[in-house]
């Protein structure tokens, strides 16, 4: 089992640099395909217009865009939490509706940690397993222990969420996603509310987990730097109506260390993505100007 081989995260240690790129990236089978998806709310607001996006196995894709560009809407559609008005969503090349929610191995990490305040950390982390009636088998307990260990929360399993810092709560939230061993991990601005130090640390930790577990991640963010640092691809979206306007490959090899943050390549990618984002924002504003 891969979980036994991975090394636990040590918050004081720099990320390792020697590990190879996961095989999954090379495999690249589409986990999720969004084809011509439109989402129009009851009040007529067009949240998404003609969204096409394919997420391949092992990719780390960031969705970046101004407020109201529909990135969270798109993510929720990917999670099966919202209906599409028109268009199709495919899961492992099969129609989403046909696969049904039972057939999809998905996990979602929300903007805030979304833990149950009345339950201890361990109980929070095992929630998806409890809901799936996984029972109390030793392997279930081991899975939870491994997850706690990997996010650096060993020894905090009997704490209540309020006893943890914001960063630790987010780690618990990631551990909860981890125990389900998802084929696709969707993260909706998970570190937006954290201070920069914690955010950078968690970015490294997520990269490390992604690499070691061979995860596929779609990550919504407001931050150009975060998107460039983490992603293999940055998808830029524009607002009014929400749509995908750019898809930028970040060809920097993994693993990426904090040195990448100060490299000229990083600055170059950030400039490229920022320009794309500016163009996207200008499109939204022009449209707004025309509307009014």
């Amino acid at each position: 089992m891969t979980a036994n081989k991975v090394t636990p995260l040590n918050p004081l240690r720099e990320p390792e640099v020697e590990a190879p790129v996961p095989e999954a990236v090379a495999a690249g089978r589409p986990v999720l395909q969004v084809d011509g998806v439109n989402k129009i709310y009851g009040n007529g607001t067009v949240a998404l217009k003609g969204a096409d996006l394919t997420i391949k196995q092992g990719e780390f894709v960031s969705l970046l865009g101004p407020s109201g560009c529909g990135k969270s809407t798109l993510l929720r559609i990917m999670a099966g939490l919202g209906e599409v008005t028109t268009g199709t969503v495919k899961w492992w090349e099969q129609d989403y509706g046909v696969v049904g929610s039972k057939g999809r191995k998905l996990a979602f990490v929300f903007q805030n940690a979304t833990l149950m305040p009345w339950a201890r950390v361990r109980k929070n982390i095992r929630l998806p397993l409890d809901l799936d009636r996984a029972g109390n088998a030793p392997e279930v307990e081991k899975k939870i222990d491994d997850a706690l260990d990997m996010v650096g929360l060993k020894g905090f399993d009997e704490s209540f969420p309020r006893e943890l810092s914001g960063g630790m709560q987010m780690r618990a939230s990631i551990a909860r996603a981890m125990v389900t061993e998802p084929d696709l991990l969707l993260m909706d601005e998970p570190f937006g509310a954290l201070d920069e130090m914690t955010r950078n640390k968690l970015n490294d930790d997520v990269l490390k987990l992604w690499k070691e577990k061979g995860w596929t991640i779609v990550f919504v963010t407001h931050s150009v730097y975060e998107a460039v640092y983490l992603s293999s691809r940055v998808v830029v979206m524009a607002a009014r109506p929400g749509r995908i306007v750019d898809d930028i490959e970040i060809e920097e090899p993994y693993p990426r260390s904090p040195d990448f943050r100060v490299s000229t390549e990083f600055a170059g990618y950030c400039r490229q993505v920022s320009q794309a984002l500016e163009r996207a924002s200008a499109m939204g504003e022009r449209k707004e100007g025309k509307d009014s």
Partner: protein, 267 residues
């Protein structure tokens, strides 16, 4: 180092109101004695104390009767109130159809319908209990319903993503989320159950073996036994305070690990 008692927050919390109480009683006693106010107008605290001792057996029986109605009504309110809330959150239609009637019960003055209930229900204890339930049930229904609906929308999304049954959603998510609201309802409702019991008894005017504290007050008033009237009044008040204290304690026990209302902030 031993801190002086005056700096001990717990001590001050108990001692300060107690001191005010003692001072007020002292002033009361002195005023009544100094102006020679007759006992049948304003009895002194000492007179009331004497009455508490001398009329103890009749007062105690009355207290037990009132407590019986209060607790019965409170228990029934909790059970029916929670059941109604659970029903309401099952469907918006059920809530829309039934909630106005819960409000109707709340806004109808109990003194206006108590005579009817006393005519319809033969057994006095049950008649009084029904009146008290009508007064006490509403805060439980409204608070618990609000609590069952006040669920973190992201947590709800997550539960839905993991294909949870309605039952699991209720037990694992809605009920724990509703607890703080439910306990808030209990605090209000416990006091109302006592008020309901006393008011209903005033209307019913039940005497004899089934007389409660309200009847004691009425009867003492007719007989100008004002110290006894005050003694009964004190028993009602003390019961109310103890009930409230019990609810606060229970709420604190249940929520102290996680809910903001029960957290002790350290400075």
């Amino acid at each position: 180092m031993k801190t002086p008692l005056i700096q001990n927050e717990r001590f001050v919390q108990v001692a300060a109101p107690l001191l005010v109480g003692v001072l007020v009683l002292l002033m009361w006693q002195l005023t009544v004695v100094a102006f020679e106010v007759p006992k049948y107008i304003v009895p002194s605290p000492v007179d009331i104390g004497r009455s508490l001792v001398s009329d103890f057996s009749s007062l105690f029986n009355a207290l037990m009767m009132t407590l019986k109605v209060t607790f019965l009504a409170f228990a029934i309110s909790v059970v029916l109130g929670v059941a109604a809330s659970l029903l309401f959150v099952q469907s918006k239609w059920i809530e829309i159809s039934l909630f106005p009637y819960a409000v109707l019960m709340q806004v109808t003055p109990i003194v206006a319908i108590a005579p009817l209930i006393i005519i319809w229900v033969n057994d006095t204890t049950w008649a009084l209990t029904i009146c008290a339930v009508i007064v006490a049930i509403f805060p439980i229904i409204s608070n618990t319903t609000l609590g069952l609906r006040s669920v973190d929308p992201n947590l709800l999304s997550m539960f839905r993503m993991y294909r949870t049954s309605r039952w699991q959603e209720l037990v694992r998510l809605r009920i724990p989320s509703a607890l703080p609201y439910f306990f808030g309802g209990l605090r209000i409702s416990s006091g109302l159950a006592l008020i309901g019991a006393v008011v209903a008894e005033f209307v019913a005017g039940t005497g004899g073996a089934k007389a409660g504290l309200a009847y004691m007050i009425l009867q003492s008033g007719y007989n100008l036994q004002i110290p006894k009237m005050f003694a009964a009044l004190i028993l009602i008040t003390v019961t109310g305070i103890l009930l409230f204290g019990l609810m606060v304690w229970m709420s604190d026990r249940a929520l102290r690990n996680w809910h903001e209302s029960a957290l002790k902030v350290e400075h």
